[in-house]
């Protein structure tokens, strides 16, 4: 993420919101008081990124800048500051493995190597078929179920090498795997079910 988009503007297709996104964008912008339209830059960039298949080509940055009457450079600043904006194309499944301390202590190394081996790519690379991009991210706030990955908009938690491979295979087959914990666990409750407060009539108070 150290380089801004290096592509030259003229080489790329111009960008414009679809009719549906344009309507959405207008609703978003209308949330902000007059003169503060620039505040909508984050949601608009997100909208654009979704429209472009998970990344922001440079014409999209300019489009959003013009849309909000803000300098292109300022849009570039925002888009490069937030790591959730991608300035290079990503695969259909954008696999973001958390490797921050809690996930790392709980075995994120295994998850990373499973991804690398199974997909045959390194960090920040995309498979030849354009299906998967692998990247490393900092804490995504699901440490309680560490280790975890985020793929597109979904979290998959309580992973190990094996379950990670299963997950990737399911995605390859075009399935929609169950999100959340990949072990016997309900959201962030204890594994295997509750260990305390098992019955509702506990009288100890």
């Amino acid at each position: 993420m150290t380089e801004a988009t290096g592509s030259s503007s003229s080489a790329e297709a111009p960008f414009a919101f679809t009719a549906e996104n344009l309507a959405k964008a207008k609703t978003i912008v209308a949330r902000y008081p007059e003169g503060r339209q620039r505040s909508a830059v984050l949601p608009l960039l997100d909208l654009a990124q979704r429209q472009c298949g998970g990344w922001l080509p440079e014409p999209a940055l300019r489009y959003v800048g013009d849309f909000l009457k803000m300098p292109h450079m300022a849009v570039m600043e925002v888009a490069t500051f937030y790591t959730m904006f991608n300035l290079k194309p990503v695969g259909r499944h954008f696999v973001q493995v958390c490797t921050t301390t809690p996930c790392w202590l709980r075995g994120s190394d295994e998850v990373v190597s499973a991804c690398k081996k199974h997909l045959g790519i390194g960090m920040n690379e995309t498979t030849a078929d354009g299906e998967f991009t692998l990247t490393e991210v900092e804490c995504l706030g699901a440490c309680v179920n560490a280790p975890m990955v985020q793929i597109n908009d979904d979290y998959y938690e309580d992973l190990d090498g094996e379950s990670m491979v299963r997950l990737l295979d399911a995605l390859k087959r075009g399935e929609t795997p169950k999100t959340g914990p990949q072990v016997e666990r309900q959201t962030s409750a204890p594994v295997g079910g509750p260990t305390t407060l098992k019955s509702s009539d506990s009288s100890g108070g």
């Binding site: 150290t2 801004a4 503007s9 300098p71 292109h72 450079m73 300022a74 570039m76 600043e77 490069t80």
Partner: protein, 687 residues
Amino acid sequence: MPTLTVDGIEVTVPANSTVLQACEAAGKEIPRFCYHERLSIAGNCRMCLVEMEKSPKPIASCAMPAADNMVIHTDTPMVKKAREGVLEFLLINHPLDCPICDQGGECDLQDETMAYGHNSSRLREHKRAVREKFMGPLIKTTMTRCIHCTRCVRFASEIAGVPEIGVINRGEHMEITTYLDRAASSELSGNVIDLCPVGALTSKPFAFAARAWELRRTESIDVLDALGSNIRIDARGREVMRVLPRLNEDINEEWISDKTRFAYDGLKRQRLDQPYVRRGGKLAPATWAEAFAAIAARLKGFDPKRVAALVGDLSDAESVLALKELMQKLGVTNLDARQDGAKLPAAPRSAYLFNTTIAGIEQADAVLLIGSNPRFEAALVNARIRKRWLAAGIPVANIGPALDLTYPVVELGNNPALLGAIADGSHPFAATLRDAKNPMLILGQGALARADGAAVLAQARRVAESTGMIAEGWNGFNVLHHAAARVGALDLGFVPGPGGLDRDGILQGAASGAIEVVYLLGADEIDMQKLGKAFVIYQGTHGDAGAHRADVILPGAAYTEKNATWVNTEGRVQRGQKAVAPPGEAREDWAILRALSETLGVTLPYDDLDAVRARLAALAPAFAKLDAIEPAPWAAFGGEGAVAAVPFGLPIADYFFTNPICRASTVMAECSALASARREKATGTHG
């Protein structure tokens, strides 16, 4: 007006001051990198830490508002330690390349390291390296040296108003760049070089050319536009190595335009370094005596009605005076200093001055532009208007071609008839002007250099008078010049004498053969074709249009090569100082005219510069007072007649090519090429 204590000294500072300003008021120097008094506060470098009683941590003095009863310490062990810590962090990723860095010797980081640096580094890890950026032909980047103070970013978006520099990425990966590495496009871009506290942004044309401490510094003034920006000329031997701004709050504050800063390489190219005389159709090198003899021979038994003289854009007042008096002695009245054909009178003075003054713009609360593009004609006047707009959101309207001036402009249309409509109050903008306390108008040469220029001038005067621009203590009528010589020459009355022809008359006369001899004092911006068969004497510095057409060339001194006087567009008389010697045989211009007068048998009555200057002051009282502005009394001016329904043009098509010095500069040529490519792109696919 908070009162606080700094190192035991009680100070009271204006409301909205910062602790840093309070410390300065108490005479304490606070180290800083990101803070700059003309930019917004960023508070990101932390070098300005001071101790505040009752605060557990040191505070960033530049970002902390001063408040009553604060007790500040700037010299405690805690402060010292805090600053040492900050500096050590800044140096973690800063390369140790001072020996090959052009900032060396004038680097804030170097200086602070002397004060707060460790004598050795504790860092064992690799330093980060940052990809070089492209910012155009003027700004050289070495981004590994950047300490991310964001001064350059703030300058571009706040002062220049062209928000093209920014910060990408974050944290350890933060980098400064222009959008997609495009060349900076502001006319003020070079100022980021001065602002950059380290060697990240340096001057590209000056790269590796000299060390700051080996240069001879001369305080002078700029003549490449009509502002008279205060500059420092740094020279080595006979060569101008660079031009830097000097502080003058009334004119350029601490900025200069890119033309002022970077055109100096034009001083070394295409110079006329000896006299020439045309023999058999070809210009041949000659001695001064031969050149003078050729002129004397041509003028022998001449009819003064058939002789004319034109003054160019860069000429100093001393030489204009000498030329005028020489012509007077010869009985010649066909004189004009308005080589662009502007219909400006030589009196009253208020008719051709920027009466509001440049600093006065900061009092204006409505502006009307007429046939002017201040961004090109006087980049720092434009920056002042922008500054005023930022502070007060004043309305700015334009009659002329539509402009991008870095602030919102109400385009009234390019229709000269609007002047009449505003003067008689029928146009809605008249009310805006009338309701303003200090309305002003800026009349450019685009509105004056046309056949009906005098009528336009009269209309503009009526606009000024009818909308309250002329009031006690306020004069909102402004003529914006872009030629440094113009005001001085008008002060000296270098306009047609009794029965004399003006520029148009002279050119017509030369074409028809009625004018047989034309003296061009650095006048290059006229259509030389029109000079017909006339015998042309060109006195100037460069092998530009005038020299090519000339029959005799007298090599003069450029503005960096003479002690001379110029009057800026406000009517401010300033002196330039000689930084280097003129090349070869070239001489100071008044002295050339003095020598010629002797050959012609009409010796001018001054033998040294002091005598010329005494004569200047005697002839035009304005010259008696340096660096000061006397408000010019208001009087009627302007011509009768109707204003034609012809849209106004703009006097400057190419900002980088306005005079012979700029046209000889390869740096300006590069800038010009980039600018025209940008224009093409803007009007092409990206419309």
